[in-house]
């Protein structure tokens, strides 16, 4: 069959499990975490107990074969409940990607057990104060010193940052070589010279940790370099290409959470003698939201399917992430509108969803950077 949009029994069972978990464990606590900005350790532990700590790890480490479609389904369910809580396992996956694609078997043995079974976190440390969209502009240096590299520099906006046990760090051997002079390193928390600056106070995703990570003469053995010297940028791009469908499914999840809440509200709330869903303006808003969600879902499904078929396509990954993130922002804004004054207030969950959603257009490549990629691809 050339086309098929049905999930198999295993995928559906997984979806049911995660959905129930989210309803019981995440939905009741999400508002409190948003308010306190506390890192959700207990929820993280529970997600890990379910086997969700690093869903893209090779089977031998996480004991489950997720496949990208199944994995995206899980991400969608998690983020339907709470992006701030759901982002932690997502950051683990992103951090692991350079290792997955560029690492040796020994490096996998070093990297994965802690994250998959040990309950530890990982972080992906690429962004710097002067280099966000422009990954080639990374200024953190790695200077060769015998069998070691000495890393110096500052990373910002690092998800899981100071809570992470292991980091993948992008550094430059020679900044004049731009994207050809970079390598990824695995660095362990506690290494001398590694410290943390401020944690960001953010508009949304507030319980997620976003740290500044400082490298002051951090000495790393060459066995922790991933791939050859100079492979860093390529690995970063590969990591983004394969993780963008995850963000697309996360965006779809956020949109779904808001849509479902607004839809149910529109069936209950009355104004001018009928339920507001019976006013055409509200019904049409809901119709637009449903279309946005369906389209986002189809895009991540195709992008994830391509990944599963080993047909990774940078442009489709970018399209899925960009469309779903932009769509999620439209959907959450309209959900607030449908709830009226209640939508603006914290007793109802949609205002948080609106604050959370904005990051989807910014991290893992802004919506503009996705368009740069798509634009290049369609013109090539």
């Amino acid at each position: 069959m050339a086309f098929g949009f049905t999930y198999n029994e295993d995928q559906l069972a997984l979806q049911r499990t995660v959905r129930k978990f989210v309803e019981n464990e995440i939905v009741p606590v999400r508002a409190a975490y948003d308010e306190s900005e506390e890192f959700p350790w207990p929820e993280v532990k529970k997600m890990f107990d379910l086997g969700l700590s690093c869903m893209n790890a090779p089977e031998k480490y996480n004991g489950m074969v997720f496949g990208n479609v199944g994995l995206c389904m899980v991400v969608e369910e998690l983020c339907r409940g709470c992006l701030g809580i759901g982002i932690t396992p997502l950051a683990n996956m992103l951090a692991s990607e350079p290792v997955l694609y560029g690492g040796t078997e020994e490096q996998w043995d070093y990297w994965y057990p802690d994250i998959c079974e040990g309950g530890k976190l990982a972080a992906y440390a690429v962004t710097e104060p002067g280099a966000g969209s422009d990954v080639a502009g990374v200024r953190t240096t790695c200077k060769k010193d015998g069998d070691y590299y000495i890393i110096n520099g500052t990373k910002i906006f690092i998800t899981n940052g100071k809570h992470a046990n292991k980091l993948t760090v992008l550094a430059s051997h020679d900044t004049s070589k731009g994207n050809r002079g970079q390598s990824f390193f695995m660095v362990e928390a506690g290494t001398e010279g590694l410290s943390y600056g401020k944690s960001e106070h953010k508009m949304g995703m507030r319980c997620s940790e976003t740290s500044e990570v400082i490298f002051d003469n951090v000495k790393v053995h060459k066995k922790y370099r991933i791939g050859e010297e100079g492979d860093g940028f390529k690995l970063a791009m590969k990591a983004f290409n394969s993780s963008r469908p995850f963000i697309a499914s996360a965006s779809t999840g956020v949109a779904l959470g808001a849509f479902e809440y607004a839809r149910d509200y529109a069936k209950e709330r009355k104004a001018f003698g009928k339920t507001i869903g019976n006013h055409q303006a509200v019904a049409f808003m809901l119709a637009d939201m449903a279309m946005d969600i369906e389209a986002s879902q189809l895009l991540w499904q195709k992008a994830a399917w391509l990944l599963d078929e080993n047909l990774m396509a940078a442009d489709l990954s970018a399209m899925s992430k960009c469309y779903a993130a932009d769509a999620a922002n439209r959907v959450v804004t309209d959900a607030v509108q449908i709830l009226g004054g209640y939508g603006f207030c914290r007793d109802y969950p949609v205002e948080k969803m609106m604050r959370d959603a904005k990051i989807l257009q910014i991290f893992e490549g802004t919506s503009q950077i996705q368009r740069v990629i798509i634009g290049k691809s369609v013109l090539s």
Binding site: G132, G137, T333, G341
Partner: protein, 388 residues
């Protein structure tokens, strides 16, 4: 582009002194008030001392008589507009003095009798008393005609029962104008003043919200709350008409604040686009950045021109119902869009609270909801078009 709104030297002077006040007294404390979810009363008192409250009030009440006082056919609302602009340009509109100045206290001036004006205006002008208006109820917002809070006449008193929600300045308010049902239908609505301390009148803590954090939005509860019948503004049943006429300037406020936020967002994003270097060049050198900023600046300019024109027309005594409904819908929606696009220019930094742009994003959101949602505005506009 030159503004259609002409400012006199007195207006400019007010702008200068108010801007100083904002810079010295509001901006440095604002982050704390955001945490506290309320602005200290003393701020209102200081504003009163400096003449920033209800400038429209007659001199005998402490004002400078720029406004609607009886016999003044051409109110000068520019002082109020300037103050809103200044708050918006510094992204500190959570100090809701404009609600006190422009959306609530004027009811007392326009619809009150001499005793009522004498009783309440001096305190409102000096900042000793803070004013709020309570229309919305948990069960009804857009549909004001469905208000259920009841006022029953009992001798020389009214006894009020019901609750109101989302009331701006609700925690601080000393003088609350409550929309009550005294009869059936639209003709059965009346405005009755309830003062702080009246037994049977309670309020909630500030309601946490997406934005406008220092603005103490609250729920008010009235349980067998007894107020003198002398607190009725105008006649029983006048409420609907009174509201409809004062909702026009209230919506104008929405336009003015949203316009100022959009202008500020553009200004901040333009600045940032010149400072930030990406891929070895300035962020502003990418065509996408240039075009996004061009679009946002164009939209902010259209908001400005439209809003200024409405201000002028309103001061000329025109009925602006149709245009202010269009404005409230389009200007407020546009400000949200501009804030979002400008935040995007900031990348990851825009998502962090340290950057002012993130506050504009949060604060602008409510203006398509309060004072009549976008959908309700479109209803009014379409009816104005004769579309049935």
């Amino acid at each position: 582009m030159e503004r259609t709104l002409k400012l006199t030297p007195e207006h400019e002077m007010l702008r200068t002194t108010f801007r100083k006040f904002v810079d010295n007294e509001i901006v440095p404390n604002y982050a704390q008030w955001e945490k506290d979810k309320i602005v200290p009363r003393e701020v209102f008192k200081k504003m009163g001392d400096l003449g920033f409250l209800c400038p429209w009030a007659e001199e005998k009440y402490g004002g400078v008589s720029t406004g609607w006082a009886k016999g003044n056919p051409v109110p000068d609302i520019i002082p109020d507009m300037i103050m809103m602009e200044e708050l918006g340009w510094r992204s500190v509109i959570g100090v809701f003095s404009h609600l006190h100045n422009f959306m609530t206290s004027p009811y007392i001036d326009t619809y009150g009798n001499d005793e009522q004006r004498e009783k309440w205006l001096p305190g409102l002008v000096s900042g000793e008393k803070i004013c709020a208006i309570a229309m919305t109820e948990p069960g009804t917002g857009s549909d004001l005609g469905a208000v259920r809070t009841k006022a029953v006449r009992d001798g020389d008193d009214y006894i009020i029962n019901g609750s109101k929600t989302f009331i701006s300045n609700g925690v601080l308010a000393d003088v609350v104008i409550v929309v009550c049902r005294t009869g059936e239908g639209y003709k059965g609505l009346s405005l009755i003043v309830v003062e702080r301390g009246t037994s049977g009148f309670e309020r909630s803590k500030p309601i946490p919200k997406i934005g406008l954090h220092p603005q103490d939005t609250a729920t008010l509860y009235f349980e067998d709350c007894r107020v003198p019948a002398a607190n009725l503004l105008g006649q029983e049943g006048d409420g609907w008409g009174q509201l409809m006429s004062k909702l026009q300037p209230e919506r104008l406020c929405g336009c003015q604040l949203s316009t100022a936020m959009a202008e500020r967002a553009v200004q901040l994003a333009v600045q940032y686009s010149q400072e930030r270097q990406i891929f070895g060049k300035s962020l502003g050198s990418f065509q996408n950045t240039q075009f996004v900023l061009a679009e946002c600046a164009t939209k902010a300019q259209i908001c400005r021109t439209f809003t200024d024109t409405m201000i002028v027309n309103y001061m000329n005594g025109q009925d602006i119902t149709q245009e202010v409904s269009m404005g409230k819908y389009w200007v407020c929606e546009t400000a949200i869009e501009v804030a979002s696009k400008c935040l995007q220019i900031f990348g990851g930094y825009g998502y962090c609270e340290e950057y002012e742009i993130s506050r504009i994003y949060d604060d602008s959101r409510v203006f398509t909801i309060l004072a009549g949602s976008t959908e309700v505005m479109k209803l009014i506009v379409s009816r104005g078009l004769g579309v049935k």
